[in-house]
Structure formats: structure tokens, C-alpha cells
């Protein structure tokens, strides 16, 4: 899923500024699962905003809504009016959701209520870890299913650097395991350490963010649209 974390309340209050009516719009997909921007978080943030406004002696109407997915146009059907009625829309979706609002509602300036961080998964209650960097050229078959691009702090492709100690990464030993240590352990168990003898060549980053904006064009799906 896409991982995100809520922005600090003070930053959100500053973003809202002098607006009188704010719509806090949650998203029912990734950010719900990582507890950053689902309906529960919408409710909590709305209460915090109301309390902060009343404490500051400000008049602020806070409207709460959550839609299934903010990354697809059709899910906005039921909230169009609420979006147009609000002075500002505070989206708790990932960056894709915020931008979809901008695209669908030219008169609205959407505000981001979360910081989108990465693609990952929950590994234990309350701990969400990046697993994929979206490099556009998956090499997991070579590394026993552990991604060194996303999970090695230096994105090394030919084994661990000198900063790997007791299975931990020197960048943050408490929280970051050394991806290459894990790869070695896994391949050792699988009896496939020889896979690592081959030099991994310079990576072609043109399929990643370095290649310009990434656009997938699926001609097969386009044809279906034309036919229908």
C-alpha cells in the first residue's frame, strides 16, 4: 500500500489559515490501512480543529467526509457539492488524491493533510516499513525477494557496505535492518549464495523517477474504451 503519516496539527492549522469552512476529506484505501487518513482519522482531526478554533476564538465550520478512493474520478460523485461549498478542502489521501481533487475541481485549492512517504506494509502493530521504491525494473528475482533499492539505505546492488553490524544498518540501527544481511541469510538457507557471485551491472534508472514522468499506456484498455 501507499504509506503516509499525518502532518502535525500546527502545520495543518497554518495551512487552513483564515478559512471559515473546511472539508476534511478522508480516503478509504491505503491511508485507512496505515491509520493516516481514513474516516477515523478524519473524525479525530476534525475534533482537533474545532477545539483549536474555539480556543483561538475563531469561527470554523468543519465538515467530515471519507470516500473510497481519492485516486479515481468516479468516487468523487457523492461529495462534489461539499467540495464546492467549502472554503478549503483538506485531503487526508496520499499525494495522488490531493492532485485528483485539483484536477477535478479547478476552483478549489486542495491542502495536503498527510505526508506521503513510500510503498510498504505493516510489519507489526504500529510499524509501517517501506518495501518498494517503484524503480520500474523489478530485480527481486535476483535478491531472494528482498529489495535492496528500497531497503538498503544506499540502494547498493552488490552486497552489504561496511556499515552493516549485527544485521542492522548503521544509518538507524534501532529501526533499520540491513537488507543485504537479510538477503545473504535467505539465500544461505536456500543454498543459493552463488547467486551473489555475479556482478550486478549499473542499473538503468530511466525506468525510475530519473526517466521523467512515468506514464503507462495500455493500448488494449484504450481500445475497449473506444469500442464501448
Amino acid at each position: 500500500m501507499i504509506l503516509a503519516e499525518r502532518k502535525p496539527l500546527a502545520e495543518i492549522i497554518e495551512l487552513i489559515g483564515d478559512a471559515r469552512k473546511v472539508l476534511v476529506l478522508g480516503c478509504g484505501t491505503c491511508v485507512t490501512v496505515c491509520f493516516a487518513g481514513g474516516s477515523k482519522e478524519v473524525g479525530i482531526l476534525a475534533s482537533q480543529l474545532r477545539m483549536a478554533a474555539s480556543k483561538a476564538g475563531k469561527e470554523l465550520e468543519v465538515v467530515e467526509e471519507t470516500i473510497e478512493r481519492q485516486c479515481e474520478d468516479e468516487f468523487f460523485e457523492g461529495v462534489k457539492e461539499k467540495i464546492s461549498d467549502a472554503d478549503v478542502v483538506l485531503s487526508l489521501a496520499c499525494g495522488v488524491g490531493v492532485q485528483t481533487i485539483a484536477e477535478l475541481f479547478p476552483e478549489v485549492v486542495p491542502l495536503p493533510g498527510v505526508n506521503t512517504t513510500s510503498f510498504g506494509r505493516p510489519v507489526e502493530p504500529g510499524v509501517f516499513v517501506e518495501y518498494c521504491a517503484g524503480c520500474g525494473d523489478c530485480l527481486l528475482a535476483l535478491t531472494a525477494g528482498i529489495c535492496p533499492i528500497a531497503r538498503c539505505s544506499k540502494s547498493l546492488l552488490n552486497g552489504p557496505c561496511g556499515g552493516s553490524e549485527n544485521g542492522r544498518c548503521e544509518v538507524d540501527p534501532e529501526n533499520i535492518p540491513c537488507a543485504w544481511h537479510m538477503i545473504y541469510e535467505r539465500l544461505e538457507k536456500l543454498g543459493r549464495l552463488d547467486w551473489l557471485d555475479k556482478i550486478s551491472e549499473a542499473k538503468d534508472w530511466s525506468s525510475s523517477a530519473s526517466g521523467g514522468v512515468r506514464i503507462d499506456i495500455r493500448e488494449d484498455l484504450r481500445e475497449i474504451k473506444l469500442e464501448s
Partner: protein
């Protein structure tokens, strides 16, 4: 000869090599470079010039290397992939060659988190092994990474680092093998304090015949005090200072700990000299360049041979 550098000629002749290290200033203070170089001139075969070591901004290793050449010393220019993509690396290597630099050490580099700009975007376009391969192809095939031909010569003696003390241990000899295959002519190791682990790693390398493929220079660092030993042991990943060394330093009066550190270093060098598979030492006297001649004198490594 691949480069005709003094270091290459010396290693090729089978002589025991001595390299040292000089950290460029955190600014433009050329006098500081001249002062440090003065201590090392004529005492070592080549001097590593670090490249923004520990991710702290310093004068570029290329410029500092050129200053060293002008002072009559031979540099080993370090280059890290943390700060440069493949375009910048290759163009800087052309420039380095044009300025007379003939030794390069290919490194990934410390993570930017440890430096004075932890907000920086790390590049890491290539890792050290991919970088070695690129530099070797520039020299041996006269081509840049994309395959385009290089105009003019590019004779470079290529080095890499090895850390026998990083984990997992099982990865350490294969990683050395990869560096040798990728193009390293010589290897300088991380500072050795744990002789047992180093011997185990070296034996693994010799078993695979890697000491015949690359010249291995053992890294040594004199400890200035028990405090420094403790600090390095606790705070630098991949460096393990055994308890007995820390205890030995603690066992002498504070003002005598530096001398004791030098004594320990000299003993280590003598031990290393006897090891099979070792071609020399890389003496990293961190901000202690003025004590290098004394250490080498005591270790019986002066005067340096002329080749």
C-alpha cells in the same frame, strides 16, 4: 604498466608498499594541505586524498590531489558515488587524469546522514563495484559506460576498499572477489584492530587466490587515547576495537596513552608484515599526519624504496 604510478610500480616490483591519508581542509586553506603534506613527503609511497569523508564538506579530492602533485607527492584520489552520478564521475575522472592523477580509489561513501548536510539527497547512481567496472572499462577499452569512445589516454591504477569487520562475515570475501573481478588493482582495508577476524578474512581471500589478483594493503590506525578507542568501538559501525587494546591504553597514564597507541600500531604493522597475502599497509593517522614518520621509522619501513 597500467598507469605508471609510483604505487603501481612499487607493488609490481614486489616491494612492501606504504600509503597514508590526508584529509582536505573544510575550506580553502591550502597552507593546511602544505603543512600535512610536509610531514608525509618522502615518507610514504602515495597519499590517499579523502572525498568529503564522513559526508562532511571539504575541498574536493581532485583539487587537493593536484596540489599534492605540485608539492611532489603522489595522490590516491578517493571518489565516492554518494555525491556524483555516472556523468559527473566520468567527467571528474577525465579531469583528474588531465591534471596528472594516476591512482583512484572507488568508494560508495559514508551515508550523508553522518555528515554536516544530513538533508542532502544521496546520489548512489552506481555502487562501488559498478564504479570499479566503469573505471576499468574507461582504461582498458577506452570507453565510457554507455560505450562511447574516449579521446586521449586514461591510464589509471584502480583501488577499492574492503571491510573485513562488517557483517555478515560470509559476505566479506565474496565482496572482495567481486571488487577484484570488477577491476580493482589494489585494495585498502578498513582499520584493523581485531587481528583474529582480519586473519580469518585474509585466509579466506588467500584460499580463493585473491591476493594474486589484487594487492591487499592492510589498514592501520594509531589510537590517540583510550577515549578514542572506546569511541570508535562504540560509534563507528564496522570497527571493532578489542577490549584488550582498550584496557592496555587505559593501563597507562593519560599523557602516555598516545605513545602507547603508537606502540600498539607499530606492533600491528610488524605482525601484518609477516602475513601471507599482504602487499603493504595503509596508515590512516587521522589528523595525526605529523606522527606518521615516527610510526614508520619504528616499524622499520623507512627509508622508502625508489622504483
Amino acid at each position: 604498466m597500467k598507469s605508471n604510478s609510483n604505487l603501481e610500480k612499487l607493488l609490481a616490483s614486489g616491494k612492501f608498499a606504504v600509503t597514508s591519508e590526508l584529509g582536505p581542509p573544510k575550506g580553502t586553506d591550502v597552507a593546511a594541505i602544505e603543512k600535512k603534506a610536509g610531514y608525509l613527503k618522502g615518507k610514504v609511497d602515495a597519499v590517499n586524498i579523502t572525498d568529503n569523508q564522513t559526508a562532511i564538506v571539504r575541498m574536493s579530492s581532485i583539487a587537493t590531489s593536484k596540489i599534492l602533485i605540485d608539492l611532489g607527492l603522489e595522490p590516491v584520489m578517493q571518489m565516492v558515488s554518494r555525491d556524483r552520478n555516472r556523468l559527473a564521475m566520468q567527467s571528474d575522472l577525465f579531469g583528474a587524469y588531465a591534471l596528472g592523477i594516476r591512482n583512484v580509489l572507488c568508494l560508495t561513501g559514508d551515508h550523508q546522514k553522518f555528515g554536516n548536510h544530513p538533508q542532502a539527497k544521496g546520489v548512489f547512481d552506481l555502487d562501488s563495484i559498478q564504479m570499479l567496472k566503469m573505471v576499468k572499462a574507461m582504461r582498458d577499452e577506452g570507453k565510457v559506460l554507455c560505450g562511447d569512445e574516449i579521446s586521449g589516454g586514461f591510464e589509471m591504477f584502480i583501488g577499492a576498499a574492503a571491510n573485513p569487520f562488517g557483517d555478515p562475515f560470509v559476505a566479506r570475501v565474496p565482496r572482495l572477489a567481486k571488487k577484484a573481478e570488477a577491476g580493482a588493482d589494489f585494495i585498502q582495508t578498513q582499520c584493523i584492530f581485531d587481528m583474529d577476524r582480519f586473519s580469518k578474512w585474509l585466509a579466506g581471500a588467500v584460499d580463493r587466490g585473491l591476493d594474486k589478483k589484487v594487492h591487499i594493503l592492510a589498514g592501520v590506525t594509531p589510537l590517540k587515547s583510550a577515549g578514542m578507542a572506546n569511541y570508535m568501538n562504540k560509534n563507528v559501525a564496522g570497527i571493532n576495537v578489542p577490549e584488550e587494546i582498550i584496557e592496555r591504553l587505559k593501563g597507562v597514564a593519560k599523557e602516555k596513552q598516545a605513545d602507547e597507541g603508537i606502540k600498539i600500531c607499530v606492533e600491528q604493522i610488524q605482525q601484518i608484515k609477516e602475513m601471507k597475502g599482504i602487499s603493504g599497509i595503509h596508515l590512516m593517522a587521522i589528523e595525526w599526519e605529523h606522527r606518521v614518520p615516527e610510526i614508520l621509522e619504528l616499524a622499520g619501513l623507512l627509508p622508502r624504496p625508489v622504483v
